[in-house]
């Protein structure tokens, strides 16, 4: 009987732009334990084998959105992806695609951070704020609930072929977050200028990779499709109705 493997090889991208001429893969042998996430493997490397490896992580429970990486070619949360699922290995860990690399597995997400405020991801309420809470039934909440589950992990941007070619594209998560407020019964905001712009929903060719990649079931592709319909109807109304009767 073959002995059960007790280690697995991790091939990890090393790159310091400006210092190294190009990214290289470095191999490390780490223990293969049934509980270990890919992140535990990286932490083992950092703590015991090579302190110079850089990557982000914090919550290690799939909620803070820090630890997105490309694992064997797919965008994943490294804290919620397990080494045993890649046994016997090797498992290849690279930075998220479609982002500039700062160092090793750390990518620059400032593009998203600048785009996010553009969709006005806050509640816009016209008229008086009630003394108590706004009433909102569980059914009304269901309308937007899944779009509010985004942890900003950037896996969808990494998976999106449009974002790869059109860096101006607002992108899946930002649009889903705009929709999250549009569909909230408490919100009266108008986000059309941004969402229906050339960089907004119309840039999307509906590939759907974003929803497949999303670890939190946000379904940004669905949000985009749904908003295309809203925008089309609104445009038609603008065309047909006199001012004042719109909305």
């Amino acid at each position: 009987m073959a002995r059960k493997r007790t280690t697995i090889t991790m091939e990890v991208t090393r790159f310091r732009p400006g210092e190294d001429s190009e990214p290289t893969l470095q191999s490390y042998e780490v223990p293969l334990r049934k509980e270990w996430a890919v992140l535990d493997g990286l932490n083992h490397i950092k703590d015991h084998l090579d302190g110079t490896l850089s990557y982000r992580w914090s919550c290690r429970m799939g909620i803070c959105g820090s630890c997105g990486m490309t694992v064997n070619g797919k965008p994943q949360l490294s804290c919620a992806t397990f080494l045993v699922d890649y046994a016997p290995g090797p498992v290849r860990v690279e930075p998220l695609r479609n982002f500039p690399v700062i160092r090793d597995l750390v990518v620059d997400i400032s593009d998203f951070m600048t785009k996010l405020p553009k969709v006005k991801p806050w509640l816009i309420h016209e008229g008086e704020t009630p003394e108590g809470e706004f009433l909102q039934t569980p059914q009304e909440m269901d309308e937007y609930k899944k779009y509010s589950m985004c942890i900003n992990c950037m896996l969808c941007y990494s998976a999106c072929p449009v974002y790869a070619l059109e860096p101006e594209f607002l992108g899946p998560a930002a649009i889903a977050l705009g929709q999250r407020y549009n569909l909230d019964s408490r919100d009266d905001g108008d986000r059309r200028d941004v969402l229906a712009s050339a960089e907004g929903v119309w840039a999307c060719t509906f590939v759907g990779e974003c929803s497949t990649a999303c670890p939190k079931g946000v379904d940004p592709a669905g949000a985009i499709q749904r908003y295309k319909l809203t925008a089309a109807v609104a445009a038609l109304k603008d065309f047909l109705l006199p001012r004042g009767a719109r909305r």
Partner: protein, 576 residues
């Protein structure tokens, strides 16, 4: 390089964001900056699951919330702070509702509330079991509408600048570039969260290394009640991931290896099929974690490779309740334990969760150092006393974040112009220290992770759920040795770009200070109260210790009487 802001908020979690917005609202002319070592929405507040307590339900009263909090804290709470807290908590949660937070609802559209440990009434607002996530993202996204708040995302604060008892700003490293900057400010609010990573097994995220406590301590502010570390009774073995108390509020049971609801043996009430407030599984966390230790001593826990466990049983709740009220719990169990709580028992054990102690502040977040404020888990106001009640922390972030923001804005308004030349000089010194630090550790021989691990096991062994004079003394000596070894810690990474090894070194430096302060306070408190249980002094001693410990650098402990307004010390009664 230098920059200037009227007020610098260190930390972009619940407390920091709330403070920054409060400043912008109090005086839009002030320049406010948030400096945070992670993007704000990555802050640890994001992990909070169960909910946030505030009186809103019919039949509930502010006084009952206050009493539950005071008795839950074993009378070490300052009652004036508790009164302000329970009064302002509902307004803060409503404010978040108005900003779009998706609080779970009743069918009629009103806010729903759930039961929580140690609370006599249902008063915990929740957003399914991702309350902190929704709270943080709502705060963060709303803060984006306030373009006046300047953000330093992924900047690590290494020092508070202070001179003659007054604070003048911070020094921080920009992670992406390694640039070291002196940021001058009239006031600084520290909102850096807790320090669970001082222990080996914790629910806390990697960033919770007590930085702000150490920063303030080094700047001359005393730390308060550091011996009170909360163990949550239900963490998943190995990862330490929290299984929220809401599981028990919804009706979950704790079972020992014989399938017996063992809490009935520990003066926590009688088992009933339906949950009863302040009873059994809805008792306070300190008592539940202690009960686990006794079960273990009696040989009634289950051994696993990751330590002894008991079982949390949710099976009788059914898929429908679990999926609507506790979906994240199901997700976490399936991912990290490969079990389905609808059909299987969840293995759990006590896990370090929350720091009751922290930077000593008054009711407005002001520390004894002029211009220095603190709010959130990093601070000790104190509303949590010797044991925090679950779901009191999130509203605490908001109430005292807002108060600290307002107080700092007011302080800056009335401030006399002072000289900042000393601050600039200190900034330059710190820059030199950091550069030198790196070079010194070049030749190091000790691994950072080894020292860190030894510190963590030292704390667990010496200052865990039960402690005694002996175990604490040993821990103190060991920590001293680790401090010496820290000087020889190796840093192999010489890059200025996103150097996480340097960050790990600086965090370990902070944690060693915090670990020592915890042990120093625990040695001096020769009584048992709440989360501080001394086997050599098993009784509460109000005569000597109805008082906060205040520890000054280096490890000098004194006491400050507790503020009592309406609830004289009494017996903590649960389940009877």
């Amino acid at each position: 390089m230098t920059a200037f802001h009227n007020i610098v908020v260190v930390g972009g979690g619940g407390a920091g964001l709330r403070a920054a917005v409060a400043i912008a609202e109090a005086n839009p002319l002030l320049s406010v900056a948030i400096v945070s070592k992670v993007y704000p929405m990555r802050s640890h507040t994001v992990s909070a699951e169960g909910g946030a307590a505030a009186v809103i339900a019919e039949g509930d009263t502010i006084d009952e919330h206050a009493y539950d909090t005071v008795s839950g804290g074993d009378w070490l709470t300052d009652q004036d702070a508790v009164e302000a807290f329970v009064e302002e908590a509902p307004k803060e949660l409503l404010r978040l509702e108005h900003q779009g937070c998706p609080w779970s609802r009743r069918p009629d559209g009103h806010i729903a509330v759930r039961a929580f440990g140690g609370m006599k009434k249902k008063r915990t607002w929740f957003a399914a079991d991702k309350t902190g996530f929704h709270l943080l993202h709502t705060l963060f996204q709303t803060s984006l509408s306030c373009s006046d708040i300047v953000r330093y995302d992924e900047w690590f604060v290494t020092k508070l600048l202070s001179d003659e008892g007054r604070v003048h700003g911070v020094v921080a490293i920009e992670m992406a570039t390694g640039r070291i900057e002196t940021i001058i400010a009239n006031a600084v609010i520290v909102c850096t969260g807790g320090c669970g990573r001082v222990f080996p097994f914790t629910t806390n995220a990697n960033i919770k290394t007590g930085d702000g406590m150490a920063l303030a301590y080094r700047a001359g502010a005393p730390l308060k009640d550091m011996e009170f570390v909360q163990y949550h009774p239900t963490g998943l073995p190995f990862t330490g991931i929290l299984i929220t108390e809401a599981t028990r509020a919804e009706g979950g049971w704790l079972l020992n290896k014989d399938g017996y609801r063992y809490l009935q043996d520990y003066d926590l009430g009688k088992p009933t099929p339906e949950p009863v407030m302040r009873s059994m599984e809805l008792g306070p966390r300190d008592r539940l974690s202690q009960a686990f230790m006794h079960e273990h001593a009696k040989g009634r826990t289950i051994d696993t490779p990751y330590g002894p466990v008991v079982h949390l049983d949710l099976r009788h709740l059914g898929a429908q309740v679990i999926d609507t009220k506790l979906p994240f719990v199901r997700e976490l169990c399936s991912k990290y334990e490969r079990i389905d709580p609808v059909k299987e028992l969840i293995p759990v054990r006590p896990v370090v969760h929350y720091m009751m102690g922290g930077v000593h502040t008054d009711i407005n977040g002001a520390t004894p150092v002029e211009g220095l404020y603190a709010a959130g888990e990093v601070a000790c106001v104190s509303i949590n006393g010797a044991n925090r009640l679950g779901s009191n922390s999130l509203p605490e972030l908001l109430v005292f974040g807002a108060r600290a923001g307002q107080a700092a804005a007011e302080y800056v308004r009335t401030l006399q112009k002072g000289s900042t030349s000393a601050a600039y000089a200190q900034g330059r010194d710190e820059e030199r220290r950091l550069t030198k630090e790196l070079r010194k550790h070049d030749a190091g021989t000790e691994r950072i992770a080894d020292i860190r691990t030894e510190m963590q096991t030292t704390m667990e062994d010496g200052a865990g759920i039960y402690r005694d004079g002996d175990s604490l003394d040993k821990a103190f000596v060991k920590l001293h040795e680790l401090r010496e070894r820290f000087d020889r810690a190796a840093v192999d990474d010489h890059s200025t770009t996103f150097n996480t090894e340097l960050v790990a070194l600086l965090e370990l430096d902070f944690m060693l200070d915090i670990a020592q302060s915890i042990v120093a306070c625990a040695i001096k408190r020769t009584e048992s109260r709440g989360a501080h249980q001394r086997t050599d002094f098993p009784k509460r001693d109000d005569e000597k210790f109805l008082a906060h410990s205040l520890v000054h650098r280096p490890n000098k402990v004194e006491y400050l009487p507790v503020t009592i307004t309406r609830w004289p010390p009494g017996e903590r009664v649960y389940g009877r």
